[in-house]
Amino acid sequence: MANVLANIFGSSPVRPLEKHVNIAYRCARELNRFFAAVVREDWDTVAKIRNKIADLEHEADNLKKKIRLRLPKSLFMPVPRQDLLELLLVQDKMANRTKDVSGLVFGRKMKIPAEIADDFLEFVARNVDAAKQARKSVRELNELFTSGFRGAEVTLVESLIEELDQIETDTDDRQADLRSALFEIEGELEPVDVIFLYRVIELTGEIADMAERVGRRLELLLSH
């Protein structure tokens, strides 16, 4: 038997969105161990982590589809549906970039030159930090909905997003440094490898870019 009161509540996208960003972060987080194994040239571990990343990305993708399906136009929500869908999209892209970069490195069995290895691992870690901060910000969604997008909660989220921006700026700086460090030694490396190393740096940096865009999307929600 259907009940009016029970059915009047559409399925809330808030918890699923928080769950989704968590999966996306867990996916990105694997990059730390992934690249550590790449530097060690421990290809068995690399393959294992690569599979795990693919699984998590797949999981995020499925949840994304599920959330979309459960968000029909007839839902009445405090924030525009479109903004929530776009937030979901950029969250998902954090996982996508992770999968892309791990796929590229694993597929070409790429080696990170010893000269830049430490800096590169730190660069990866900062990108993962950005994803983590994005997760922290999105996890405030429920509180934002409860407080009606105003007051102390908004200030809190704004400060979280500011912190996220700082992390992203840091990854940008590190990315530039890494590029010039690579430029210094590129003559000693195989040209094709060099091209793909630049590509790996770029793709990894995009994880922080996507995390920052998660922040931008959240900010848009705050402004309603």
Partner: protein, 416 residues
């Protein structure tokens, strides 16, 4: 004489069956908000519902019962043939029961109130004559079906907005909640107690005057608010749970408030909906007893007690399962939101009960929930369901009317 006993027994059977159905289905809407927000356990909800539905029915159910009983049909026209009123009321009860059974099987969101009013209007207009219906009164009732959800929505909007401004958006929401929630408790208790005293006590034979009523209401509400404030002071923040959800402890403070609004809601529901079951029964009894229509006989209190008991039995047999199911589905309605909806709906319904207007409890509550939603309090509301409610609203009245006409004609031909 024997025929009259048959009528009364039949009406009592149908009426108790209706009350049972209301207890089994409708009460869930009044109580599930509290269970869904975990302010009450199922067991506590059943207890609260049993006590306050019953109190509401007996203390404040009189006005609406008398509207159903003699406010819709112009009984003067029937003075020559009192048996027609008996057939009609029996037919109304039976058709309302049938329609509700069909509708709940199909999952249509129909209202008990709309069904029974449609049924009574139906048998009176077609079975007796267009003039037999007091159209002015019916117009008021139908208007109230639009007005009551709107009013409840408006009140809920204001209440939830104030909660957001005073508590949820502040730097220390917990301290603010501890300060303001007792005030909300006072307001909730005051409204319900006042309307009950002013409108309800007359039916149980007490009349204490308006000034005294206000004083008494303030006294009782203050006492309840103080008990609530003590309970609130004892709530200690749970740091671990708060890491996951900042408003965890704040919601626990609101849960105390929600116990009060849950009682109000059960009371309001009892005061309005019991009339749907026993209004027709009361009409049959009054005609069967005196043999004349429109006698100024007072409503026997045992009829209200019978209705209240029927609701409680329905609640105890099937209602608890429905409460559990609905409660599980409406977790979006946390105590801070649920209380706003419940308080707004209960206030609207109790005022309607005091004025003798049968409104739909569920629709009023839905209006209140939408009001909270408009205050940006609810994550997602499915507007398709709101649309479906509107459609069923339009369909129910003719359906109830049609069925009651058929039953009326059958009764007229087979009963003595």
């Amino acid at each position: 004489m024997e025929a009259e006993i048959v009528y009364v027994v039949l009406a009592a059977l149908f009426g108790v069956f209706m009350a049972w159905g209301i207890g089994a289905n409708d009460v869930a809407n009044a109580m599930a908000t509290s269970v869904g927000s975990k302010a009450l356990t199922i067991r506590q909800a059943i207890l609260v519902a049993a006590v306050f539905e019953f109190l509401g029915a007996v203390l404040a159910g009189g006005e609406v019962t008398s509207t159903i009983r003699k406010g819709i049909v112009d009984t003067d026209l029937l003075s020559g043939s009192p048996e027609l009123l008996i057939y009609g009321m029996l037919a109304s009860l039976l058709s309302a029961g049938t329609w509700l059974l069909i509708a709940s099987r199909r999952g249509w969101p129909v209202s008990t109130t709309h069904t029974i009013v449609g049924a009574i209007v139906g048998f009176a207009a077609i079975g007796i004559g267009i003039d037999a219906v007091q159209w002015g009164q019916v117009g008021t009732i139908v208007m109230s079906w639009v007005v009551s959800p709107l009013t409840a929505g408006f009140i809920a909007f204001l209440i939830y907005n104030s909660v957001q401004r005073l508590i949820l958006s502040q730097d220390d929401p917990l301290a603010q909640a501890k300060r303001y929630v007792p005030v909300y408790i006072f307001l909730a208790a005051f409204t319900i107690v006042l309307v009950t005293i002013v409108k309800g006590l007359k039916h149980v034979g007490l009349d204490i005057g308006l000034t005294n009523s206000y004083m008494l209401a303030i006294g009782i509400a203050a006492a309840i608010a103080i008990v609530g404030a003590i309970a609130i002071q004892r709530i200690k923040p749970d740091r671990k749970a708060e890491k996951k959800a900042h408003f965890h402890t704040v919601e626990r403070v609101f849960a105390v408030l929600m116990v009060v609004t849950a009682c109000s809601m059960a009371f309001a529901h009892g005061s309005n909906d019991v009339a749907n079951a026993i209004g027709p029964l009361a009409a049959v009894i009054s005609v069967a007893r005196s043999g004349i229509v429109g006698a100024q006989s007072p409503l026997p209190i045992w009829v209200l007690v019978l209705g209240g008991t029927g609701i409680v039995v329905g609640l105890a047999t099937f209602g608890k399962h429905v409460i559990a199911t609905v409660g599980r589905k409406i977790t979006q309605l946390t105590p801070s939101r649920g209380f706003a909806a419940e308080l707004a709906a209960a206030t609207t319904i109790v005022i309607a009960s005091g004025t003798g207007i049968p409104v739909s409890t569920t629709h009023t509550l839905v209006g209140a929930v939408l009001g909270v939603g408009l205050a940006r309090g609810i994550e997602a509301i499915d507007l398709r369901v709101v649309g479906r409610i509107f459609v069923s609203w339009v369909v129910t009245i003719p359906a109830g009317a049609f069925l009651s006409i058929i039953f009326f004609l059958i009764f007229k031909s087979i009963l003595p």
